[in-house]
């Protein structure tokens, strides 16, 4: 073997070793979560920490799905996340279209305002929003959460939609408008169908963001009936901090919808992250 071949072999060994470390680092915590959720409670204490329990069980999932409030939390989270995703996508399509196709007075300020909202600490809105929402009956209500999450996600979604509209030639709706169609008709019938992938990506991003939100849900919701999954799980953890199997089983369930959407939007990750470079 020549020195060059040896060097190449060394390079690729290093390469795959580094890659393997990254994959392990990314997946091990999730593997462990899943492992604990399958471990019978007795073995958890008697066997100590080991890579795989001697016996596995779905009991924890059974308990979480039938004997707890988690199905309710799950449903609440689905309602909030789906409504937020749809509402944000509708509103952000309009705003993204305006930013992509028009020059208008105040555009600079609108963009500036949206950028600033990505920079300031949302946590400082917790007290005033709580005080404004209480007399309106929007605390302990899913509607209140939907309104808050919609507003928070609009700026990012607008930039994302704008980047998709920018990729569609202007001539398309101009041709339709010369043929006598109103711009809104052209927008609805020609442009929107072409942005379907963009719309799907926006729906996915916003759904995931709403599904994960914790702080405002904690503050605005105190009734179990109206709790979302993050609040339900955190309350459960602080109340029954020794039922590791059930806690982790609930955690795995919370992961499912977010991961589903992640695989749907994976193709658009780069665009999403560059559009909202400030946001996770």
């Amino acid at each position: 073997m020549s020195a060059a071949t040896l060097k190449r072999a060394g390079y690729w060994t290093m390469h795959y070793a580094i890659i393997a470390l990254y994959v392990a680092f990314a997946l091990f915590p999730l593997y462990w979560l899943f492992k604990v959720s399958l471990t019978p409670t007795k073995l958890l204490y008697s066997e100590g920490v080991r890579m795989w329990p001697s016996r596995t069980t779905w009991e924890n999932y059974g308990f979480v799905l039938t004997n707890s409030d988690f199905p309710r939390f799950f449903l609440n989270s689905v309602i909030v996340s789906v409504s937020t995703a749809v509402l944000v996508t509708v509103v952000a399509s309009g705003a993204g279209y305006a930013l992509s196709r028009f020059r208008f007075r105040g555009k600079f300020w609108l963009v500036g305002l949206m950028l600033i909202t990505q920079m300031f600490p949302l946590v400082m809105l917790i007290s005033p929003i709580f005080r404004i929402f209480t007399p309106l009956g929007l605390t302990d209500s899913l509607l209140g959460l939907i309104i808050v999450y919609t507003a928070f996600n609009i700026p990012f979604a607008t930039f994302l939609m704008q980047s998709f509209f920018d990729g569609i030639p202007k001539d398309l709706e101009e041709a339709a408008m010369i043929d006598g169609a109103h711009r809104f008709t052209a927008f609805r019938q020609i442009i929107l169908p072409l942005t379907l992938p963009g719309i799907a990506a926006t729906l996915g991003f916003v759904f995931t963001a709403a599904w994960s939100e914790l702080l405002f849900a904690l503050m605005l919701i105190s009734k179990t009936d109206a709790s979302t999954f993050p609040v339900g799980l955190l309350t459960f953890v602080s109340k029954f901090s020794v039922d590791f199997g059930q806690m982790t089983a609930a955690g795995v369930l919370a992961l499912i919808p977010a991961c589903l959407f992640f695989f749907l939007i994976q193709r658009y990750l780069v665009r999403g992250l560059t559009a909202g470079a400030v946001k996770g």
């Binding site: 580094i18 890659i19 990254y22 994959v23 990314a26 999730l30 462990w32 979560l33 604990v36 958890l44 204490y45 920490v49 509103v91 309009g94 305006a98 028009f102 208008f104 609108l110 305002l113 909202t117 920079m119 300031f120 600490p121 949302l122 946590v123 400082m124 809105l125 917790i126 007290s127 005033p128 929003i129 709580f130 005080r131 404004i132 919609t150 507003a151 928070f152 609009i154 700026p155 995931t208 599904w211 914790l214 702080l215 503050m219 993050p230 799980l233 955190l234 590791f244 806690m247 955690g251 992961l255 977010a258 959407f261 992640f262 994976q266 780069v270 992250l273 470079a277 400030v278 996770g280």
Partner: protein, 308 residues
């Protein structure tokens, strides 16, 4: 003739032109209404709370107290500790995320068998809801069910396999580790996109001229990436400083406020203390600090643009 007819000022013409001028506002106004009603108005009201005595459970509160909250803040050792923790938390999280993200992006830049799969797998943490990655790491750090204390003990970092989250001296590293795990994909994706925007011809030319791997990295990759890196890192730092989710989920700021950052301190004051006035005063200070920081970022950006 038809041109003249169109130009003739008439009720229909004016209305049509008005409608055309209003059109962008028709598309943009729902977004603007949401942002103003749910973000700007509460922001202004929140700033006013900073000068008022507002505690939720006291019906007689609400009076104007001037700068009293800020005076209290100056003497509040918990606040100063939170400020120091914010720096530790932000600098450690951002630099580790950035370094690991850069190495990963460089590994993923060139095609190799299995790249698509690896890319999908290493990006998974980013899809995990932040509170859940916090809870999960709290479990991993728990010696009863988690392996991390035992491993840290085995390699000699810990003197006994205990939960680092209950040791005030090092507890902050728990949320930092969770944050790094969660945030590496973000940097990897951003840097990968930036890497792919470098024209490959430049590398080819450099290779022909005999430049080695390190030279190519130092003389082409780094200068090309520098502006993206600077802006991404500086903006990401703001986002991380502002996001208390992991801390609230993992430690609630404890033990003994040792993991409290300013953002989680604001949340704790409002959520647990129900002291909206004081929470808003802390928030106002955080906002001022961020404004100063943003100005510095803008200045750095200007000088970067001038340099390139």
């Amino acid at each position: 003739m038809s041109v003249q007819a169109e130009r003739r000022p008439g009720w229909h013409g004016t209305r049509r032109r008005f409608a055309l001028r209003m059109e962008p506002y028709f598309y943009a106004s729902p977004a603007l209404i949401f942002i103003v009603a749910v973000m700007l108005v509460p922001l202004a009201i929140g700033l006013s709370y900073a000068f008022r005595d507002i505690t939720l459970l006291n019906p007689f509160s609400g009076g104007f107290v001037g700068v009293q909250h800020f005076v209290d803040l100056w003497h509040d050792s918990d606040f100063w500790q939170a400020l120091g923790n914010t720096v530790t938390w932000t600098v450690a999280s951002v630099s580790l995320q950035f370094f690991l993200g850069l190495v990963l992006a460089l590994r993923l830049y060139r095609p190799f068998p299995g790249r698509g799969l690896v890319q999908a797998l290493v990006f998974v943490p980013w899809a995990v809801p932040m509170f859940l990655s916090g809870l999960n790491f709290a479990w991993l750090f728990n010696p009863v069910i988690g392996p991390l204390p035992h491993w840290l003990y085995a390699v000699g970092i810990l003197s006994s396999p205990e939960n680092i989250l209950s040791d005030p001296a090092i507890a902050i590293w728990g949320p930092i580790v969770a944050n790094v795990w969660w945030g590496v994909p973000f940097f990897a994706i951003t840097l990968l996109a930036a890497l792919q925007s470098i024209p490959p011809e430049i590398y080819e030319a450099a290779e022909i001229d005999g430049a080695g791997t390190w030279r190519r990295f130092a003389d082409i990759t780094v200068p090309f990436l520098a502006p993206t890196i600077a802006i991404t890192v500086l903006l990401r730092a703001v986002w991380i400083a502002n996001a208390p989710d992991l801390i609230v989920a993992m430690t609630g700021g404890g033990p003994a406020d040792s993991t409290q950052i300013v953002a989680s301190y604001i949340f704790t004051q409002a959520f647990k203390g129900l002291d909206f006035g004081y929470a808003s005063a802390v928030a106002t200070v955080l906002l001022m600090l961020l404004l100063v920081y943003a100005l510095i970022v803008l200045m750095i950006r200007q000088s970067l643009l001038k340099a390139s």
